[in-house]
């Protein structure tokens, strides 16, 4: 039935053009490369799985309402208390102080590097900012504790009560410096991707450099800029060492920047130091707080990835 009589030429074998015979070696290579790629999915699954069982065990002992609704965090005390709100608030305040530094100064640096700097200036200054991004966070923690915190204490004139040695402000501000290069470099990428024609058009209409930068280039690159802010939030929420060293490890339900706080990350780190026996409620709290942290950063990251894709689609 297959060989229709109207065809005089013999039918070619039923394989796509260009492939002489199946190459099993090549297929094995593709399969092993695919497995390398799949490892990332396995990693995520392993993260979720390693969190899941302990979290279920934890919530079998502590109700979800007590965990998210409570304002008293003392899991290793007797009687224990599992209200996670102090940790959430500690994470929030330190993140806000970091954003106070990294958003305006990161964006300012980005506009300068993208719109004002000559190529030579840019090629000198950008690597310097990149060094800032490469410094280990434990070093920033040392810097916050031994220099910024005493400095804040000495120059404090806003109120009679001076900041404690361990305080949310110093830790947050130093974290802002740590994240600044991320904001600067991602925003600069987004602004550099704005077509030169938009700038030329705006100048042709009589715009000044200032107007073109702030009213044409920044709005045109806004999704990339916002993505850099969102990623900055994700970095700040997930930062551990600065918080562990300088923020005080004091689960304190307060917005006062002069006092010590404890973030989610710092709690996990501080509890992890003292080899907690497996299966105890103290061990399980690491996972409950870790799962909360993972869920929060996952949502933030997905928003950032979406925004980055959007600006890539528009201009690249």
């Amino acid at each position: 039935m297959q060989a229709a009589p109207s065809r005089a030429i013999p039918r070619a074998p039923d394989r796509p053009l260009g492939v002489a015979r199946p190459r099993w070696g090549e297929r094995a290579i593709v399969a092993s490369l695919f497995l390398c790629g799949l490892l990332s999915v396995v990693t995520t699954l392993a993260i979720v799985l390693s969190l899941l069982q302990p979290v279920l065990d934890f919530f079998a002992k502590v109700s979800i309402g007590d965990f998210f609704g409570g304002r008293d965090w003392a899991p290793l005390f007797n009687p224990p208390s599992f209200g996670v709100q102090p940790l959430l608030l500690g994470t929030l305040t330190t993140t806000l102080w970091a954003l106070v530094i990294c958003i305006p100064f990161g964006l300012g640096s980005a506009i300068y590097l993208s719109e004002y700097a000559t190529p030579r200036v840019r090629n000198t200054l950008k690597p310097i900012l990149e060094i800032l991004a490469g410094i280990p966070t434990v070093v920033y923690g040392f810097f916050a504790l031994t220099l910024v915190s005493p400095l804040l204490h000495d120059i404090w004139f806003f109120s009679a009560k001076k900041p404690d040695i361990f305080n949310a402000l110093a830790a947050g501000l130093v974290m802002g410096i740590m994240i600044l290069p991320t904001v600067a470099s991602l925003s600069e990428d987004a602004m550099s991707a704005v077509p030169q024609g938009l700038r030329a058009g705006a100048f042709a209409l009589g715009g000044t450099k200032l107007q073109v930068s702030t009213r044409v280039v920044v709005p045109a690159a806004i999704s990339g800029i916002i993505a850099s802010f969102v990623l900055a939030i994700s970095r700040a929420v997930g930062e551990t060492m600065i918080m562990l060293i300088a923020a005080g490890n004091n689960p304190n339900f307060t917005l006062d920047p002069r006092e010590g706080v404890q973030t989610m990350t710092a709690f996990i780190g501080a509890t992890g130091i003292g080899d907690v026996p497996q299966g105890t409620i103290g061990y399980l709290t690491i996972f409950a707080v870790g799962a909360t942290l993972f869920a929060i950063t996952l949502v933030i990251n997905l928003i950032a990835i979406r925004l980055v894709r959007r600006f890539r689609e528009v201009y690249e």
Partner: protein
């Protein structure tokens, strides 16, 4: 819009004259931007000077040859330095093949229309931004205990760091592969090369400098990473060098953290000296990466 070439510089003579008020505003704006840049750069300078000044008295060979001690005058970081070298060996041995493999798959083989390939890609982007302490939890629950049960050993620490830096290695590796022009692939195919022959003998050699740059950046992230190792029990007081993959260990950033958290001021100075050592190593690695990038990466095709 596309009629203006992207490299075209709009200089002063293309623009109209600015009014006096505009000039003042422009001055203020430019001043604010320079101030923003200065914040980062001055902080970097202050940080480096402070660490160097504080650590200078303790910056001697004993820091490198002595073992940790409860007496600050005799404490050193030898076991931590050896631990870090071991960890880097493990990360290199695992992250390079796995990361390059994934990068090659995603750039050369994966069909981006398939849902599983899109899933892998989204996953890697997300993993690059997962907090490092979460990797510590993964290492603790999955590698040190749980199904793989390596214990709190060098191998568990090294593999945790590998998972942490893999997204960096993959993302930068993909960029390097993408930069190889398609004409090279087509030429190889036209000569009858198979896909893998093309990839392994044409594309990879051309992309290696860029991939190496990304790998060094990933390694320098791993070398300074502290948080995940804390969860893996690397903070224990270790006065011997590791002797194998199943050895207990400490690492340089861990040792620094340990010294920072002690109340005595002498230990803070010791921490500063160890930070100088760590930063010098990092600076050396980054210089190699920048040198590689300038030497090979931006070559005109």
């Amino acid at each position: 819009m596309s009629s203006v070439p992207s490299g075209y510089a709009i200089t002063k003579q293309h623009r109209g004259r600015e009014r006096a008020g505009d000039r003042l505003k422009a001055r203020i704006f430019q001043g604010l931007m320079l101030f923003s840049l200065a914040i980062g750069i001055i902080t970097l300078a202050v940080l480096l000077i402070q660490v160097l000044a504080k650590g200078w008295p303790r910056l001697n060979l004993e820091l490198l040859t002595n073992f940790p001690s409860r007496r600050p005058a005799r404490a050193g970081a030898q076991s931590a330095i050896f631990g870090t070298i071991w960890l880097m060996g493990i990360v290199m041995a695992t992250a390079i093949p796995l990361g390059f493999g994934a990068a090659i798959y995603l750039e050369e083989y994966a069909d981006p229309k398939r849902w599983y390939n899109r899933l892998i890609e989204l996953n890697i982007q997300n993993l690059a931004a997962v907090p490092s302490i979460v990797y510590g939890i993964l290492g603790l629950a999955f590698l040190a205990r749980g199904p793989i049960n390596l214990g709190r050993t060098l191998l568990a620490g090294g593999l945790t760091l590998t998972l942490l830096v893999l997204p960096i290695v993959i993302i930068s590796g993909r960029e390097a592969i993408r930069a190889v022009p398609n004409s090279i692939r087509q030429a190889a195919f036209a000569l009858g090369a198979t896909k893998w022959q093309t990839v392994s003998r044409q594309v990879l050699p051309a992309a290696i400098p860029g991939m190496a740059t990304g790998t060094i950046l990933g390694l320098s992230r791993a070398i300074g990473e502290t948080a995940p190792l804390i969860l893996l029990g690397a903070l224990t007081f270790i006065t011997f060098n590791p002797d194998g993959l199943t050895s207990q260990f400490t690492a340089l950033p861990i040792q620094i953290f340990n010294w920072i958290s002690r109340p005595q001021a002498e230990f803070k100075d010791l921490a500063a000296a160890a930070i100088v050592v760590l930063l010098v190593v990092l600076l050396a690695m980054n210089s190699v990466a920048i040198w590689l990038r300038n030497r090979y990466y931006r070559r005109p095709w």
